[in-house]
Amino acid sequence: MSHMDDAATASFAAGPVTDLAGSGGQVADAAEASSAARPVSDVAGSSGRGTRRSHGQLWRYIGKRLLIAVGLLFGMTLVTFSLTNLVPGDPVAAALGQRAADNPETVARFRAEYGLDKSLPAQYAAYVSRLVRLDLGVSWQTHHPVSEDLAKAVPATMEIAFGAIICAVILGIILGAWSAYRRGRITDQVLRLVSLVGISLPTFWTAIVCFYAFYYRLGWAPGSGRLTPGVMAPPKVTGMYTIDALLAGEWRTFVDASAHLVLPTLVLTLYTVGLLTRFSRTSILEVLDQDYVRAAKAKGLPGRTVFLRYILRGAAVPILTMVGLAFGSLLSGTVLVESIFGWPGLGSYAYQAASKLDLLAVMGVGLFVGLVYLCINLLVDLAYGVIDPRVRIGQ
C-alpha cells in the first residue's frame, strides 16, 4: 500500500513539471523522451534579452514556481487525505486491539482524541488549519507528533540516499561515458547489459544477497542497524550519525556508522546506477558527434578538457534532469532496503503507517516526499541556467 501512496505522491508532485521531465512515474522513459533543448525555453522565456531583463525574468519565474509549489502541496494534502479515507477499513479497528475495539468507551475516546468523530470535510479543514501552523498532527501509531517522527526518520534515509546518489552519479557518468566512447564495441555491449540487469533486479533481492554475501558469508560488512549494538548514537545535530559523530569528534562512532552505511548505500547505488549509466550514455552520444566537439578535438585540446568542458557540459542538462528524478524515486525505493538492513528511515515509517491506516503519518510522509520532489525540480531548473548559457540569455 505504501508503494501505492508513494507512487501517487510522486507522480502528483512531479506532474506539473512535465515540461521538464515528463511524467514522474515513468522515470526512465519520460526523462529519455524529454530532450535537452526543451527546458531551455521554459526557464527563461523566449523574449528575454540582456542580463537585467533576464534576472527579472528569473525572479518572476522562481516566484511563479514557488506559488505553484504551495498550490501543489495543498492539492497533495487533498489527494492523500481522500485516498487514505477511500481505503475500505476503519482505522479504529486497525489501531485498537480486538477487545478494546469492542469497548464503546475506548472507541469513542480514540475517535475524539484524533478528531475522527467529526465529518470528513471538518477533519480535512482541521488538518489544513493545523498544517498552516506547521503542525502535522500526532501519529496514532507511534503516539508522537508526526513532525518529530519525520525528524528522526528523514536523516536516516537521507544518509543512505545522499551516499547512493553521489556514488550513482559518479559511477553512472563514468560508465555511461565509457560506453558511449566505445559505442558498438564489446565494452559497450557488456555495460549496457550490466546496466539493464541493474535496473531489472528488485532491490529487496539485491539487499538480501548483499547482506548474505558481505555480512554473513564473508564477514566484511557489519550487521543490521545504523550502529553496532552498544555503540551509543552521537549527540543529535543533523540526525545523520556520520556527520554528528564527526562534529562531536567521536571517531569510533564515525567509523562504525560509516561501515553500517556501506551495504545499504551499495544496494541503492546499484538500483540507480543502471538507470544513470543508460541515460548518460544516450546523452553523451548525442553530443559526441556535434560540430563543436569535433572542432575542439581538431584544435588539439587535451582529451580531458574536451570531455569535461565540451562533452560533459553539453550532455549535463538531461543527465541532471534524470538525477533529480532518480533521487526522488530513491526515497520511495528505500522501503524494502530499509527493512532488510533494519534501518529506521522514512521507508519503514511510511510502510508501518500505511499498513495501520495511520492517516496523519501517511499524509506527513506524502507531503514530505512531495516537497522533496518540488525542491529538487526547482533546483534542477535553476541549475540549467548555470550549466547552459543559452538558458541564461534565453536563446
Binding site: 475500505p88 479497528a93 517522527d149 559518479i170 563514468i174 561515458a177 557489519p222 533494519g342
Partner: protein, 531 residues
C-alpha cells in the same frame, strides 16, 4: 581522451576499496558468539525481534514488543513463573479471595522498592490499577467491572459483581504493572482520561522491575539497563539488554553470526535451516488459528447449515496443515490452547474423515456452489503465512466437494468485515489477553467473537450455560472440567473450526540460558542468563 577516464576508473576503484576497508574496521558483533561484553566487563545481550510497539506506558500498551519491555521494567502484583503458565504466584503482593471469587485482598510484600528507592505501597498499586481503568486505552478492558479500593498502607481490595476467578491471572499481565504513583503524578499522571504521562513514561521508566529504561526508539531499538535498586526474586544477569527491530531474514543471519544472542521472529521454516551453532526453543504458541463459518443465513444459507459445518470440520486434514506450519506447530485440539488449564487432549480433537465430510457436504447443498474464504494476507501470526494456509485449506475442501474462492485483503481492511460478521468463511487467529482460559469464552454464542460468526445468544443454551460457568467457577478442578466440557461442545456444535497453534520459535546462542516462551509477554528478558 583515455587518460581522464582512466583516472576516474582508478578513483572509483579506490573509493570501493576504501568502503570495504571501512566495513572491515567496524565491530563485527561478537565474533566468538559469546553473549556480549562491550569491553569494560559489563555484560550485554542483544535480542532481535520485529517491532510491534506503540508505547511502553503500562496502562496504554497492548502490543507484543511493548509487553516484553513493560514486563522487564514494571513488576506486577502477581505473576507466573517462567516455566509454569498455569499457577499464579505472588510478586509485589500476596492474595486471598473469598469463596465466591468476588473479593480479592492483596497484601503488599514488605521491603520492595521502585528504581528510585521509594518503597512500594498500596497507594501505588491502587493508583496504577485505577489509572489502567480510567485511561480508556487499549488494555482498559482487562479490569472492566472491577472496583479497586485501598484498605490500609499495605493492603488493597478488588471487588467484582460477578465471580471472577480469572482476576489473579489478569493482574499478572504487564499492563497491570505497578508504577511509582508519586513520580507519575508529578509528570501529568492521573486516573482519568486527562492523564498526560505517556510521553514521560516513554522516556523514563517508573517501575520496580529488574531493568530500567535507558532509551526507546519505537522504530528501531530499546535499551534497558540493570535496576540497581531491584530487590525482588528475579535478579537479572545482563547489565544491558538491547532489543532491536529486525526483519526475520536478517534476524536469522544476525543470530547465526553472533551479532545478536536471541532471535524471536523466526518462522518454522527458518529454524529448520538454522546453523548448528544456534539453539532453538520450539513450542506450540498460545495463538489459535481457526476457521469461522458464518451461522447467519442472511450471509449464506449454505454456511448456516449444521451439515456444512460438519463437512468442513471433517473435511480438513489437520496433519496436512501442520506440514506447512513448520517446526513447533501443533493441531489445536480445541479453542483453548494447550498451555492453559482446561485444554483438550488429542483424543478430543477434530478428526479428518473424508467420507463423512463428502456426505455432509452433499446434504448441505454446498456441492456445486462457490463460497468465499476471507483472510488477512499481510500479517503472519507467529511466523505462519495465512495465504499458504488458506491455499492448503482450499485444496483440502475441494477434495470433499466444497469449492471456495480465496479473498485475501490487508488486515486493516479485512478486520472490519470480520468484526461486523460479514464473512462467509473467515480464517483468523486469537492471541490470549491474559493467562486464563476464560479468554476463549469470547467464542461462545452471543459473545464478541461468537457474534462475528453470526451466532447470537440463544443459539445453543447448553454451551451458553457452560460459558457462564466458565466465567464464574473458581475451584481449580471444577474449572478444568467446565472448560473441557465447553471445549468438547464447541468442537461438536460451534461454527468455529480450531485448526492449529503455530510454533513459537526462539533461536538463541548456546551461551544464553533461561529461554522460555510465555503466551502473554513472549519472553522474560530478566530471566535470561549465561549458560
Amino acid at each position: 581522451m583515455i587518460s581522464p577516464k582512466n583516472k576516474m576508473f582508478r578513483l572509483t576503484g579506490a573509493l570501493g576499496a576504501a568502503a570495504l576497508l571501512l566495513s572491515g574496521c567496524a565491530d563485527n558483533g561478537n565474533e566468538d558468539g559469546a553473549a556480549g561484553e562491550p569491553g569494560d566487563g559489563a555484560t550485554q545481550i542483544v535480542v532481535d525481534t520485529t517491532f510491534d510497539i506503540k508505547t511502553i506506558d503500562p496502562a496504554r500498551e497492548y502490543e507484543p514488543t511493548g509487553q516484553i519491555l513493560v514486563k522487564a521494567l514494571y513488576d506486577t502484583l502477581l505473576t507466573f513463573a517462567d516455566d509454569d503458565t498455569t499457577t499464579v504466584i505472588p510478586d509485589l503482593a500476596t492474595f486471598e479471595s473469598n469463596s465466591d471469587q468476588t473479593e480479592f485482598t492483596l497484601t503488599m510484600t514488605e521491603g520492595r522498592v521502585f528504581s528510585d528507592g521509594a518503597p512500594i505501597t498500596a497507594d501505588d498499586a491502587v493508583f496504577s490499577l485505577q489509572r489502567l481503568q480510567g485511561l480508556e486505552g487499549n488494555p482498559s478492558f482487562l479490569l472492566a467491572g472491577v472496583q479497586v479500593e485501598k484498605v490500609d498502607e499495605m493492603t488493597l481490595k478488588l471487588v467484582t459483581d460477578v465471580p471472577s476467578p480469572s482476576l489473579p491471572a489478569v493482574l499478572a499481565t504487564p499492563s497491570c504493572g505497578i508504577v511509582n504513583s508519586k513520580l507519575v503524578q508529578e509528570n501529568g499522571g492521573s486516573t482519568s482520561a486527562t492523564d498526560s504521562a505517556e510521553e514521560f513514561l516513554n522516556e523514563t521508566s517508573a517501575g520496580s522491575g529488574p531493568y530500567i529504561l535507558e532509551k526507546l526508539d519505537t522504530a528501531s531499538e530499546a535499551i534497558l539497563v540493570k535496576n540497581d535498586k531491584y530487590n525482588g526474586p528475579q535478579k537479572p544477569t545482563y547489565d544491558t539488554v538491547i532489543l532491536r527491530n529486525t526483519e526475520p531474514a536478517t534476524q536469522k543471519m544476525n543470530v547465526e553470526r553472533g551479532d545478536s544472542q536471541v532471535a524471536l521472529g523466526l518462522s518454522g521454516d527458518m529454524v529448520d535451516s538454522l546453523a548448528d551453532n544456534v539453539n532453538v526453543e520450539s513450542v506450540p504458541s498460545a495463538t489459535v488459528v481457526f476457521l469461522l463459518i458464518n451461522a447467519d443465513s442472511a450471509i449464506s444459507e449454505i454456511t448456516a447449515s449444521s451439515e456444512f459445518v460438519r463437512a468442513v470440520k471433517n473435511g480438513i486434514n489437520y496433519d496436512g496443515l501442520l506440514e506447512i506450519a513448520g517446526r513447533g506447530a501443533a493441531q489445536a485440539t480445541g479453542l483453548v490452547p494447550s498451555v492453559f488449564l482446561g485444554a483438550l487432549g488429542s483424543a478430543d480433537a477434530l478428526k479428518y474423515d473424508a467420507a463423512a465430510a463428502r456426505t455432509a457436504a452433499e446434504a448441505s447443498g454446498a456441492v456445486g456452489q462457490k463460497l468465499t474464504l476471507s483472510f488477512p494476507n499481510d500479517i503472519d501470526p507467529t511466523g505462519l503465512n495465512l495465504t499458504t494456509l488458506a491455499e492448503r485449506i482450499q485444496s483440502q475442501l475441494s477434495q470433499v466437494g466444497i469449492e471456495v474462492d480465496l479473498a485475501p485483503a490487508p488486515f486493516a481492511t479485512e478486520i472490519d468485515a470480520y468484526r461486523d460478521g460479514k464473512e462467509q468463511i473467515g480464517l483468523w487467529y486469537w492471541n490470549p489477553d491474559y493467562m486464563d482460559p476464560a479468554n476463549y469464552l469470547a467464542f461462545g454464542p452471543g459473545q464478541s467473537v461468537g457474534l462475528r460468526a453470526g451466532w447470537p445468544e440463544g443459539s445453543n443454551p447448553a454451551i451458553e450455560a457452560l460459558v457462564s460457568q466458565g466465567y464464574t467457577t473458581g475451584d481449580l478442578d471444577a474449572r478444568r472440567t467446565v472448560f473441557e466440557n465447553w471445549g468438547k461442545a464447541m468442537n461438536a456444535d460451534s461454527p468455529f473450526v480450531p485448526l492449529l497453534q503455530p510454533g513459537s520459535n526462539v533461536a538463541y546462542q548456546p551461551s544464553v540460558s533461561g529461554v522460555y516462551y510465555n503466551p502473554v509477554w513472549l519472553i522474560n528478558v530478566a530471566g535470561l542468563g549465561i549458560a
